[in-house]
Subunit: 382 residues, 2 copies
């Protein structure tokens, strides 16, 4: 697969954004996080791992986006489709891009509204003091919430984006099929984690930003722990949940494995998770809501009790490991063609321990398309 | 090495924080980012990769910190030394922890000042709209900048922290020594990147959040690019720069390799980088400033012209890939025992292409201690 996207992909994103901006009366959109900047530019680097420098993209009401970035990023940004790239030598302790950005916003937006993502699942990636200073420079009434604009854009994926997520899923599927090479009785869990990441890379992942999991005789108490050094034991249920990246797009799904033998309880729990997954997929139709998908799974998992402390049964997926919407009772987002979702039911076996299962799909006008290679109902014994 | 830290480490951090809070008249400290939360709690998870849920720690003027977190994190937080853990089921689209946090702050801080990191190299990791709502709930005058408090705490590392960084450096050093296994003529750079990450994991890294680099006959034009699929050629200079993590602490250094043969220009450039590194290390004395270290290197690299567009010749290092201070002319931070720094000189060979070298040290009362296994002056040919 070719890296990146054609310029037409970015132009289409900008056009969609500008249509929504016109509806809302926004003069410009100000973006500061990695996925927001990359969404309109294609600027792809792992350098965001460094929290030191702020990076900005300004989308005007008409015309191409403008990058306002540290000079260290100029060579990479120059390889994108953008032509208006404004740089300063960062870090600058007295003015780290703030006045350069203010000048750009005044030029582009005049006295109009500059929209900034401020809602659920968004952050501002610049120091708060600098944001306050920016507001003072351009007039404090100009910076306003984007009213969910970026959410509604990014929640629906293009076919080109879906192709990348599908490939990330394929790579992870190959890595999962090789887990018998690395997991057996006596193998410490942290070593399994390290070696699973190696398998993901060996199968073609660019990098492995996320790996979680657990192992125990009745499953695991949570799904966000780092690995302990406890060796795997006969009868353990091992779960690995990975978000690996290919060309800037994530997969996010897991697999459960029984070590040498599986208890009846564990097998039954796995069956029920697969059943709930199927119900969730079946419910993920165009026109249904995120809440509908939640309830379809919850009826099977808890008899309709309303979920668990994990909080949700799945979520959006794309340039980030988790995105909008959330599969929870109160999320009434209407599903449309091109939304990529994880379907992630969980079930308790005993005493707070249990299993979680996860698959990735894309909502389609007819029936959902599977992106991850769906697991068998039978818990795999290795 | 044992994972995590003794409770005494966290109690000492809290005591230092509370001393600074008393000096500044703060009633509480409000923290929201991964390193800030972990600094006081030991809460370690890769789940921060998911941007969906906010997480908070409140440090009162006296007494232990309080965690205000999504219930999905309760089992992991319960394994830390904290006893006051308050949870809500997140994501909650109508109130994602805001009122729970407001209640906690009102209880802890009364009408006093709640300090929030707002300065250089900090972010707020919660939606801006929720931060505004929080301000309204607890009284808008109460949320104030932390006046560099977290910066001054985290910039000086404990011996227990330095032990972890040293081990991360050792692991990366072993991986770099195996680069001849994976880099040769005809090998595409992106495959070298994938396989280098596998080497880091094989040598004991928990994960590899950061890898950058480049390759070309006169070096590389920037140090933040993802890998291309261009095969290595005879005479290329290959650079790999990794920030791998062991138990939550980073290393950050690079190595240059000449593929089969090295030009005189490349060898000379590498010599000069090693000379500049030595000068930087020599200058990194207790009582000197970050600026002094910059100038010691810049005299060798540019004859004192004031650096390059990369912006700096090194930085702090610890729970994040890059931390305060910056080795730039305007950073007058006074170096003290226990500050961990990267020494990172760069030099142009021709037409915007050149080399960068990087090592990791800790400032000591006598002379700096090397944390990374320092490279030889001779550019390594493989």
């Amino acid at each position: 697969m070719a890296r990146g996207f054609d310029d037409t992909e970015y132009r289409s994103r900008v056009a969609r954004a500008q249509t929504l901006m016109a509806e809302r009366g926004f003069a410009a959109l100000l973006l500061s996080t990695e996925p927001e900047v990359r969404y309109f530019t294609g600027f792809l680097t792992r350098f965001w791992e460094s929290p030191t420098r702020p990076w900005f993209v300004v989308v005007p009401a008409a015309g191409d986006p403008i990058a306002v970035i540290p000079s260290i990023g100029a060579p990479v940004m120059a390889r994108t489709w953008l032509s208006d790239i404004r740089t300063w030598r960062s870090p600058d302790l007295s003015d780290d891009g703030v006045s350069l950005l203010a000048d750009c916003l005044k030029e582009v937006a005049g006295k109009g509204t500059v929209a900034v993502p401020m809602g659920h699942e968004t952050h501002l990636r610049m120091p708060l003091a600098d944001f306050a200073r920016l507001g003072g420079m351009i007039g404090p009434t100009m910076l306003a919430p984007d009213d969910g604009l970026m959410r509604s854009l990014r929640m629906v994926k293009s076919e080109a984006e879906i192709d990348k997520i599908r490939l990330a899923c394929t790579i992870a599927g190959r890595a999962f099929s090789r887990v018998p090479e690395i997991a057996k009785v006596g193998e410490p869990l942290d070593r399994v984690f390290r070696r699973f990441q190696m398998l993901c890379l060996d199968e073609g992942a660019d990098w492995v930003p996320y790996l979680a999991g657990g192992a125990g005789p009745a499953g695991y108490a949570d799904v966000i722990s780092p690995a302990s050094s406890r060796p795997l034991e006969k009868g353990d249920i091992l779960m690995l949940d990975t978000g690996l990246v290919y060309d800037g797009y994530f997969c996010d799904f897991d697999r459960n494995f029984a070590i040498e033998t599986a208890s009846a309880k564990a097998r039954d729990a796995h069956h029920k998770l697969i059943e709930a997954t199927a119900a969730g997929v079946e419910a993920a139709k165009v026109g249904a809501t995120a809440s509908d998908v939640f309830h379809a799974m919850d009826r099977i998992l808890t008899g309709g009790a309303g979920g668990s402390d994990a909080g949700r049964y799945g979520h959006g997926l794309g340039m980030q490991l988790t995105e909008w919407p959330s599969l929870i009772p109160d999320d009434h987002t209407v599903l449309t063609d091109g939304m990529v979702l994880t379907i992630e039911p969980g079930i308790e076996i005993e005493g707070g321990f249990g299993l979680v299962h996860e698959e990735n799909i894309v909502v389609r006008s007819d029936r959902p398309e599977r992106l991850s290679p769906f697991a068998d109902p039978e818990l795999k014994v290795i």
